[in-house]
């Protein structure tokens, strides 16, 4: 079975710094593998551990330094890494990203059985790229995947988070999955994994290599564009008190008043 694994390098959003002009400071912000893509890696490894002849190729679209997350995933047990990189890809929205990644998968893993993505990326948080890839490949999809229960060459049985509960779904391959967090103990890289990661050749693919036109990718190929970006301003006057023996009384009184729509 061949698995294409889509991963993304993202800035650590819990560590965002601001410039004086209220724009995000890009320098000095740590880059990490998108946390949901770590769950995607875990799901792919789980399938590799339970099925025969599984080959997993991690694919990322990004700048040259995104090679780092491909090597990290190889250290964890992923077989190969492919970096899709071209200045012309920059500024892509989810439509253009989906198209570029779909075309990359066709080029790099043309005989894939399964594509696995993280459900969200923590920077954009749109949850759209996976379904967009599936659309461009005319492929079936299952999103909000929680756990893979069973996998064969023809089908996969898994659980997914619906709005009101957990569905168990049997889905035929080929298929695209978007996975949510799973609570399993994450795989840790072993020393020979690090050695393999160091030695592995990461192939790079340009716009020309994947056979798209400049008009179809990046900002030019994106139907949406940002017209304005601003820092949300939260202002509030908090009545702050230090807890003492009257605190429960105060909270109870306040709850009664708030319930009745009074301010205090």
């Amino acid at each position: 079975m061949k698995i294409a694994l889509c991963i993304k390098q993202v800035p650590d959003t819990s560590d965002i710094k601001w410039t004086e002009n209220n724009t995000i400071k890009r320098e000095g912000v740590e880059s990490i593998i998108n946390p949901y893509d770590v769950y995607a890696i875990e799901s792919a490894l789980q399938i590799k551990n339970t099925c025969k002849d599984v080959e997993i190729t991690a694919i990322t679209m990004g700048p040259a330094q995104a090679e780092d997350i491909l090597r990290k995933s190889i250290a964890l047990g992923i077989d190969k890494g492919a970096l899709v990189t071209d200045r012309k890809f920059s500024g892509a929205d989810t439509y253009a990203t989906g198209k570029t990644l779909a075309q990359s998968i066709k080029t790099i893993v043309p005989d894939f059985d399964l594509i696995i993505c993280g459900q969200f990326a923590i920077d954009g948080d749109t949850a759209q790229t996976g379904p967009s890839i599936a659309n461009h490949l005319n492929l079936k999809q299952v999103t909000f995947v929680k756990e893979i229960l069973e996998c064969s060459d023809d089908y996969i049985i898994l659980t997914r988070q619906a709005d009101d509960g957990i569905e168990t779904v049997k889905a035929k391959l080929p298929l695209l999955l978007c996975v949510l967090q799973n609570y399993k103990e994450p795989t840790r890289a072993k020393i020979n994994g690090f050695i393999k990661a160091q030695k592995s050749e990461i192939k790079t693919y340009s716009l020309e290599d994947i056979g798209l036109e400049a008009e179809e990718v990046g900002l030019k190929g994106s139907p949406t564009y940002v017209s304005k970006a601003f820092r949300p301003i939260v202002t509030h006057n908090c009545e702050k008190v230090f807890a003492d023996e009257n605190t429960p009384e105060l909270i109870c009184n306040r709850i009664e008043k708030y319930k009745a729509g009074q301010n205090e």
Binding site: G165, A171, P223
Partner: protein, 332 residues
């Protein structure tokens, strides 16, 4: 000038056969947008099992919907990505709306990008504000970078699509009764072999809608709660107040609270009457999910915790002492 006109809303039907509340929130916003677009028509797409329309009819009539396009089939007992997206694409190609809005439920988030991508148009996810700009474009504002930056996004293709989470917009507060037209449609997409079968379903919430959506009081816990037992204490407090329990992402990641009650950027957006934040420091990712609560009470041992920036009443102290005291005070 585009030939596209009007606003199309997706009327999500839940497993328990009612129209998801997010639809009525979208309808309210659509009425506001329509006024800035020459009072354009508002339509709804309804995909349902046969014989259910009567239960839904008043909801559409009372919320300002001009036309409802109805697709009925036994197969529409459960949502399916492929069939539903193909129906929506057909309808968009036929009626050519300039705007299409979908609720950002798990179903909506599965469906919307399939529709937008197939129509080669853009989709702005999880908008917190929608407006019409001076060029009569849909200006969709959403948080990015974990809520630390807001971006207003425009789309150069039609229809301009957006998703909005439940509870972000206020539901209809006055009746906007229309002479709604109900139009029956047929489709042959029901013949598709979807290759996807739901073989089991376990309900994890008491209602189809998370209780967080309807609760007037939410007692929410974060890192400071520390243990699953701590969450039981919050449950006791919530029960006494007639409310429900929520959690921050940290508490979910620690494994002491269920993902389904997570509030914030990657969880739910809530707007209860009273939000009681216990041991939540107030990372912006959490704040964006609860800041529209009518009143916020925060309990935290760190007097500089950012949660106090959004709170009406802030208690600096040890919640393991305060909450049990509060519980015994309420019991008396």
């Amino acid at each position: 000038m585009s030939e596209n006109k009007g606003i199309l809303l997706y009327a999500e039907v839940t497993r328990d056969k009612y129209i998801h509340t997010v639809f009525f929130e979208l309808a309210n916003k659509a009425l506001e947008l329509s006024k800035k677009l020459d009072n354009c028509k508002i339509s709804a797409l309804l995909i349902t099992e046969p014989g259910q329309l009567e239960n839904y009819r008043d909801g559409f009539v009372n919320s300002g919907i001009d036309r409802v396009y109805i697709y009925e089939d036994e197969k529409f007992k459960n949502y399916n990505t492929e069939i539903y997206s193909k129906i929506a694409i057909d309808l968009v190609n036929e009626i050519k709306p300039e705007i299409m809005l979908i609720g950002a439920t798990n179903q909506g988030r599965d469906l919307a990008p399939r529709i937008s991508s197939a129509l080669h148009t853009g989709l702005t996810a999880d908008c917190t504000d929608l407006d019409i700009n001076e060029k009569l474009q849909l200006a969709a504002t959403r948080p990015t970078f974990g809520g630390q930056l807001m971006a207003t996004i425009l789309c150069k293709k039609m229809p301009q699509m957006a998703t909005v989470r439940p509870k972000v917009f206020k539901p209809m507060d006055e009746n906007a009764v229309r002479n709604t037209e109900f139009i029956n449609k047929t489709t042959n997409h029901t013949q598709i072999d979807t290759g996807i079968e739901i073989i089991d379903f376990v309900r994890t919430l008491e209602n189809d809608l998370n209780e967080l959506d309807s609760a007037e009081i939410i007692v929410s816990g974060g890192r400071g709660i520390g243990t699953a037992e701590g969450f039981k204490m919050l449950k006791d407090l919530a029960d006494l107040l007639g409310g429900t329990v929520g959690a921050s992402r940290v508490a979910v990641d620690m494994g002491i609270a269920d993902k389904s009650i997570q509030i914030g950027q990657t969880g739910k957006t809530v707007r209860p009457k009273i939000y009681i934040a216990c041991g939540i420091s107030g990372a912006i990712q959490h704040i964006v999910g609860m800041q529209d609560s009518d009143k916020i009470i925060a309990i935290n041992s760190d007097e500089n915790a950012p949660i106090f920036n959004v709170a009406d009443l802030g208690i600096v102290g040890d919640l393991n002492q305060i909450i049990p005291e509060l519980i015994s005070r309420l019991k008396n």
